[in-house]
Point group: C2
Chain length 283, copies 2
């Protein structure tokens, strides 16, 4: 029973590359929330259990929050006000503020998240691509993913790929181009905002900056997620370290080219600087 | 499929007399949240499914919140900021504010809720009492309770009563007296506060006043919950209307006497006035 009592308050469930998950994980890390993480293989939870990840379980109140927006909202009201350290509490409440500025960005970034997913999958799941890219992202080579999930990914990826190509309309180049245009337009807006102020929602850091960085990270594969020493998920996934070098030409050229141009943008520099300065610390 | 889309965002699950549930239900009503309610028989959910009520399900984010404190916190951050009507939104956010005053009261009222439960059950579940009182409170005569639950209550109440007497230490008069003393002390504090300001957490209504009223209601059986026209749960439970007259001497005399003295307190008047003025309206 002692072991039960000592369990951490939160259980966080996510898959390896999971940009909406990374914003919640990063928030949990920044506000010092006591949690443990359970990693599932990419897409498997949605397919086998009909529940998408991320999910945040609060053992204290027997609650389960099923969407990243609501996870942050829940943490802001049901956890942050009870942080004992008054300095950290004030910082956490400011970080998780929901005002007009942060809420307007949250809507745009929600859209950005889905656009990044749809646009990048066009290339990663293209018919002429080898499966290494998606298998790496979904965690087929990741020790933190349960063995059974890794086996399902290794043998089931042709089916998953076919299904994803259908639901995300990945054969349609018009949809792909429209997605890219919308991504660029949100990035333009982020660049413009950052030319006027230090952070996306004002002069202080907020969850919006972290959300933005977490959503953009998958487009910074070489520089960030699959770098020799990956800072994504605070280095949780050892299979990501050096994955880009290992994959070499098995990662879509179009994504590498996009990454090169993206790196010149102020908003991408903002993202990388936040990963460098804030990914392994508390507020 | 159309029917699915039109379902209300929230599903609220509670048992008939459920003071922690009533604070969430009343909040949902006041802030105009779109919800439907599912009523379960008293204690049955805890016994058969290992999950206590109330529970709030958010269909939008596939979330399930399992504790009344966290339900209110969730509504404050994940629902109230998105209310379209700006006037109602401002009122809802003020009502659901979590500041030092409301948080200090929330801790005390959580305690009050459990004390009221334990103290009232001492009499309602006494060995020499007929089961009418607990059966009425648990919903054995309530059409909104599923038939199977009503049957379980009607035939299983001796077992439920025995179990409750054990876990709540209902044979121990010392525990009973300590509970009553602690109840009186919190009521004294509420009286003192209301002599200085209009509402428990300042000059404006907050969820603290509603919580207080919902928790006190079961001790106002004749005047409120089982009155000829019950305003408890906004009149949801038709079996509560006139239940006190029907039960007559089957309701514990000690509770009726306590109610008489309670009615003289300013805090009980506050509770009744809120039930009269705010139980069937929006903020």
């Amino acid at each position: 029973m002692g072991g039960e009592d000592e369990r951490r308050r939160f259980l966080f469930v996510a898959m390896p590359i999971n940009h909406f998950g990374e914003r919640v994980r990063w928030t949990l890390d920044l506000i010092g929330a006591p949690y443990e993480e359970y990693t599932v293989g990419g897409l498997i939870s949605a397919f086998l259990r009909g529940r998408s990840v991320p999910q945040l379980v609060d053992r204290k109140s027997c609650s389960m929050i099923g969407n990243s927006d609501e996870c942050l909202a829940y943490l802001s009201a049901a956890y942050a006000p009870s942080i004992a350290d008054t300095r950290l509490r004030a910082k956490a409440l400011s970080f998780l503020r929901f005002d007009e500025q942060t809420m307007a960005w949250d809507v745009k970034l929600n859209q950005l998240g889905h656009l990044v997913q749809g646009w990048a999958y066009f290339y990663v799941l293209a018919l002429d691509m080898t499966p290494e890219g998606c298998l790496t992202a979904w965690g087929a080579f990741e020790p933190k993913v349960p063995l059974m999930h890794r086996l399902i990914l290794k043998f089931g990826h042709p089916f998953l790929r076919k299904f994803m190509r259908l639901v995300f309309e990945l054969s349609n180049e018009e949809v792909r181009d429209r997605r890219r245009k919308m991504i660029e337009s949100i990035l333009d807006e982020a660049d413009a905002t950052l030319s006027k102020q230090k952070f996306l929602a004002g002069d202080d850091l907020s969850h919006v900056d972290i959300t933005f960085s977490a959503l953009l990270a998958p487009l910074l594969g070489a520089r960030l997620v699959f770098a020799p020493k990956s800072s994504y998920a605070n280095g949780r996934f050892s299979s990501f370290n050096g994955a880009m070098d290992r994959m070499s030409d098995k990662w879509p050229r179009a994504l590498l080219e996009f990454e090169q141009s993206l790196l010149k943008r102020p908003c991408a520099k903002h993202c990388i600087s936040l990963y460098e300065s804030l990914r392994s610390t508390q507020l």
